[in-house]
Each structure stands twice: as structure tokens, then as C-alpha cells.
Symmetry: none
Subunit: 209 residues, 4 copies
């Protein structure tokens, strides 16, 4: 009985905890994306989240830890969105387009988080740097692999895979950043953006247009 009660209580408590945590993260996403890491203060975040100063430090160890958490969230979303394309399976180009579409979805569904990540790059914190390095390393290897496979199978032209992989990542980053900064009305919808990027990035590399 007691246990059950305790369980129920703790479950409710657990949920409230989790909701609060989420509220802070969500507020921080907005604040960081608007002002950038340094210009955003903990005061901004707690005001936006509607909590007190002390409470923040119950949920997060530090400003850095909060930021890292958001970075990890973004990395998770991106990692989930991307499926490594097996060149032996049919229609690899279609798989790649689907990847592009899912990545564009992440940017459109989480504009603040995406902007936050794209605004600040390296140098804020060693942990963040390491995580982002791993993400970008993963992305580069993925793209590079696709390029190598494409060339092997005669689908794509030979290029400097390392450079082109990096360039492609940059192309997406800038497209997203510009998309998120520009007012909605004057910028393409997600479908157009995805296909335009795919066209540009992939079609251009095909041996035969």
C-alpha cells in the first residue's frame, strides 16, 4: 500500500520533474537561438521558463551543461533522421533524397534548436566541441562514403570526396540558417528546399544529368 502510494507520488513527482526540465530546455532553445550562447544569460532562461534562479541549478549543473544537453538533443534528432544508404540496395538516390527530406524536417520542426547549433560553432566548451566534432565527423564520413560508393558504381563523377563532403554539409547548414533567419513568407517550403538541395547536391554530381 505504502509503496503503491509512494510509487504514485513519485511517479507524479517524476513527471513534474520531467516537465520542468523540458520547459527549461524549451525556453533555453529559444533564448540561445535568439541571443547566442554568451549573450544569453541564465536570467533570460529562467525568466522565459518561469522558474527561479535556484531551481535552474537543481535541473542543470551549469549553463554549459544546459547547452550541451541541447546540443545532444540536436545531434540525436539528426542522427535519427539519417539512414546510412546501402549501395547494394535498390534506388540509392531515393534513399538519399529521403535522408535530405528528413534532415530538412528537423530544421523546420526545430527551428530554434537548429539555429542555435548553426549560430555558434566551435570553442564554447570542450564537451560541446567533442560532440559536434563527432556529429560532423559522422556526417562527413556518411557523405564521403556515399560519394565513394557512387563513384565506384559509376553513378557519380569522381571528386575530391573529403572536400565535397564538407562542402555539402556547409551547403545544408547555410541553406537552413538562411531559411530560419529569413521571414517565412519569402522563403521556400520544406518540400522545395529539400528537392532544391537534393538537385543541387546530388544531381549535379551524377554522371548523366
Amino acid at each position: 500500500m505504502k509503496l503503491a502510494t509512494a510509487d504514485g507520488r513519485s511517479r507524479r513527482a517524476e513527471q513534474k520533474r520531467s516537465e520542468r526540465r523540458e520547459a527549461i530546455l524549451s525556453a533555453a532553445e529559444r533564448i540561445f537561438s535568439q541571443h547566442g550562447y554568451h549573450a544569453a544569460s541564465i536570467s533570460d532562461v529562467i525568466d522565459a521558463a518561469g522558474i527561479s534562479r535556484g531551481t535552474f541549478y537543481i535541473y542543470f549543473d551549469s549553463k554549459d551543461a544546459l547547452f550541451l544537453q541541447l546540443i545532444e538533443r540536436f545531434i540525436g534528432l539528426m542522427t535519427d533522421a539519417l539512414v546510412v544508404v546501402d549501395p547494394k540496395k535498390p534506388e540509392p538516390a531515393r534513399r538519399i533524397l529521403e535522408n535530405v527530406q528528413r534532415v530538412v524536417d528537423v530544421a523546420f520542426d526545430h527551428p530554434d534548436l537548429t539555429m542555435m547549433v548553426l549560430r555558434e560553432s566551435r570553442g564554447l566548451n570542450a564537451d560541446v566541441d567533442a560532440k559536434l566534432d563527432r556529429l560532423y565527423g559522422f556526417l562527413r564520413e556518411m557523405v564521403e562514403g556515399a560519394l565513394v560508393n557512387g563513384a565506384k558504381s559509376g553513378l557519380t563523377r569522381r571528386v575530391n570526396e573529403a572536400v565535397v563532403a564538407t562542402a555539402l554539409i556547409g551547403a545544408f547548414k547555410e541553406a537552413f540558417l538562411h531559411q530560419l533567419v529569413t521571414e517565412r513568407t519569402r522563403s521556400p517550403d520544406r518540400q522545395t528546399l529539400a528537392s532544391s538541395l537534393f538537385e543541387f547536391g546530388i544531381r549535379g554530381l551524377l554522371v548523366s544529368g
Copy 2:
């Protein structure tokens, strides 16, 4: 005689002034590129420049003014490097390659300055924002114009010019950033980088490979 002496003296003084100013700018370039605008303190800059606290403020009005100066320097270098390509003149692709080579040269010749600009994006200061907006606007229009002209003359495929222009700029930014972060030995030389970027960006868009 007196005038000559005075002239000589003031000329020497003028030169020393200008050297100091340059020394501060150069130190700041390094510091800002390493730590980013906010994390870099005036103390870091004056230590690196080997001057005293007060001396800094003789040469620059504020931290913001110093940063703006460097931004302007970068913008000047980029603007000088780029020549608008006239589609009626012969060999437009070659003119574009030359632009790419000169832009790559800027990144290689001014690695700290370039990294500084690529690290921080918008939001530090209204003046800086305005200047960068103008630079990127100029770049986008330039690339977009080239794409439109290319399509008109039947040289390149039709694409969403706005998106592709932005993506191309991002491609260069990321390539430079990666280049500057990675150790020299493992990264391509400027010739390779330039031609790889050109190949990727332009060849891919040609109607016939």
C-alpha cells in the same frame, strides 16, 4: 631644416603608430579567431599585442570598434577578390574559377581573420550585422546572377537560384572552416581546394559534364 626634421619625426611617429595599430589588429585577429568575440577579453588582446590597457583605447574606441575594423578588413579582402563575371565576355567559367582561386587565397593568406568571421555569425553588434548582411547579400546576388545567366545561355541547368546561391556560399564557408581547423598536413593545398570546390559547385551544374 626645422620643418624637415619635424616632418621626419612625425613621419616616423606616424609609421610607429600605424605599426602598433597593425600589431593590435593582428593580435586581435588571432585572439578572436581562437576564442570568439565574447570569450575573448581586451586583456587577452593587449597581452597578445604586448601593450598596456590604456594604450589599446588610444587606438580603438571599444572592443566593438576593434571587431568591426577586422570585419571590414575581411569584407574588403573578399570584395577585392571577386570580379563580377560578364556572361558576354569569353570563357565565363574560367573567370569564375579565378574568383574561386582568389577567394581561397584570402582564406589561406588570412586564416585567423577568416576563421574569426566564420565562427561568429550575426548578433554581436548592429554595425557588424549590417556589414555582414551587405557582404552576404552581395555574394548571394553575385552567385544568383551567375546562375541565372548560366541558365539563360544554356550553359547550366535550371535550379532554384536563391537556394543554390545560399548553398554554394555555405559550401565555401564550411570548406574554409574545416580547412582552417584541420592541421595543415592532412588538408588539401589551396590549388586542390580551389579546383575541388569549383568542380563541385560549377561543373555539377553544367548541362553536359
Copy 3:
């Protein structure tokens, strides 16, 4: 119950806040009166108040805001002390004497605050200037009105009211300043000061001694 506790807690907190604020104001009164606005540093104030650097800025927005607060306090005390004398009511001279006594009381009861105000005059801060201008304007008008009324009713001699009003205010200011600077033992008590000033300022102006 919960509310009551919370209430009690917040009431105590509220009181402590208010006490601290008062402690800072009181320390600042002393510091400003001793060194003057410019020569007094925030460090001096926080040392005297026994608080930390940051704490000061919880209670006051800036050094200026603190000073303004004290100025307002003084203005409030003076304004409360003075009752406009209605010439139609009986014994106007007595009402004036009572005003003088109350003003002297303010100076004796708040020596630091009074000295602070008398030391610094205009030019520290636009807000302060405006407030003081209004105070002195009010004082001048009050005295001038009394002089005009006195002359009308034939009680006092005709004088240049504007000049004499200003002069009378200066007479009080200097008397207070001198009083507060001189050691207690060698200076008159408040009763003597009040009646001497009254005698000088008012009796002298009466038509018949």
C-alpha cells in the same frame, strides 16, 4: 497553513530586504556627504554597508540611481516640513517660524543627507538636476509669495522679491552647511539656530522692528 507560513516567511524576507536597502542608503548618505558624489566610489559604499559588490546592484540600478534616491528622500523631508502660509489666517509670522523650525529639524536630524545635498550642486545627473531645480523652484516661489503677501498686507517692507527669496534660501543653506561642518560643541543648538535665522530673515524685513 501553508499560506500563513509562506506569508510569514515572505514578510520576514521583505523586512530584511527593506532593512538592507535602508542600510545601504544610510551608508551612502554618510559616504556621499563625506567625499562628494564623484570621489565616493561604490566600493566605499559597499564597504560601509558591509555588503558585497553584487548585492549593491540588487538593490540599486546604478550609482546614479542611489544618489537620486537620496536626493528624493531629502526633497521629501523638506517638502513635508514646509507648510504654505496663508496670509489670511492669523499669526502668519508664527507659521513661518514653525516652518523654519521644522526645516532646521530636518538639517539636525539628517545631517549627512543635508550635507550631501548642500555639497553637490548641479551637473551630476540630469534627473537629479531636474529634481533639485523643482525643489528650489518651489522654495523660491514659496518665499517670494510670502514676501509679496507680506508687502501687500503692509507687514513687510518692499524688496526685490526674487533676489531676496534666493538670498534667504542661500542664508539657510550656508547656515546649515556651516553648522554641520563645525563641531557640535562650538555651534548653536537647533532652537537658537532657528530663532536666529528667523530673526535675521523675517524680523529684518518687518516694517516696524
Copy 4:
């Protein structure tokens, strides 16, 4: 011959020195009266005087020394303006009026200097304090003496001489300050001011108007 030349040269040099010194003092008068001691910077003074930073320190040891110099100048002017009134000589009241007129002349002829002295009072510097204390002590004694003599000879009423002397000084100070702050057009001319102050200060104290 040589000596004569040297003499001529040094005399000219001496004169130039003295002119420069005067230019600095004159500029400082203006600057100090406008901004007050603390808010006025050496930069302001040298800009107004049209000299270089280093030159200033050839002519004055420090900012304090400059200010002290001006204070001394003011004290000299005031001291010269005032003639101790011998009660045995005829027409003492007229001698007093002449004193008042000469003091008013000092204020009108040296508005910046006068305002400078009246704005800042004590606490800037020990030397300045001492000099001003001596001046005010002299003034108080002079007025007090006159009051005592006046009472002795039956000319004036008996008052608290110490308080009234201080009050009279304050009356003049405030009248001057107000005069110098207010625009010329709306304020009395020197004749009116002098007679109004005399009327107020002295006539009021006479046994028979």
C-alpha cells in the same frame, strides 16, 4: 651685448610663458565652472587651451594644483574687493554698500571663476579646503565684526552675530549662483543686485529703517 640679447630673448620667453599659463587658467576656469572639478578632465582643459598634454604639466604640477591656483585667484579678487569698515570713520553704511558693489562686480566680471568656486565646496583637496576655510573665516569675521560694531554703536539690532554672518555670506553666494545660472535677460543687472542685497542684508538689520 650678448647679455642684452639673452635678456631680450628670455624676456620674450618669459612673456610667452606667462601668456600660456594665463591661457590655461582661463580655459580651466571655463571648463571647471561648466563641468565641475571631477567631471572636468585634463583633456578638456588642454583642448580648450589649445596646448598639448605634456605642456600642461610643464605649467602645473597636477590637476589639483591648477584648481588651487584658480581658487587663489578668486580669493585674491575677493580679498581685494573688501575693505574693512572702520566704525569710527564717517558713513559706515556707505562703506559697506561699496563693499557689496565691489563683490558683485567680481561675480559679474569673473562669472566662470565665481561659479566654479560656488559649485564645488569642500572636500576636493586639503589645500583647497584650507584656503577656502581661511577665506570664509575672514569673511565671517569681517561681517561679524561689522555686526558687533553696529550693535555697539546702536546702529543695528542685536542678533546672533555668528549665525547671521554665516547666513549673510550664504545669501550672497546663492544670489550669485542663481544669477550666473539664469540667463542674463531674466536676471537683474549688477546695480540692482547690489542694492537689493544691501537693502535685504543691511537695512533689515538697522534699528530704524
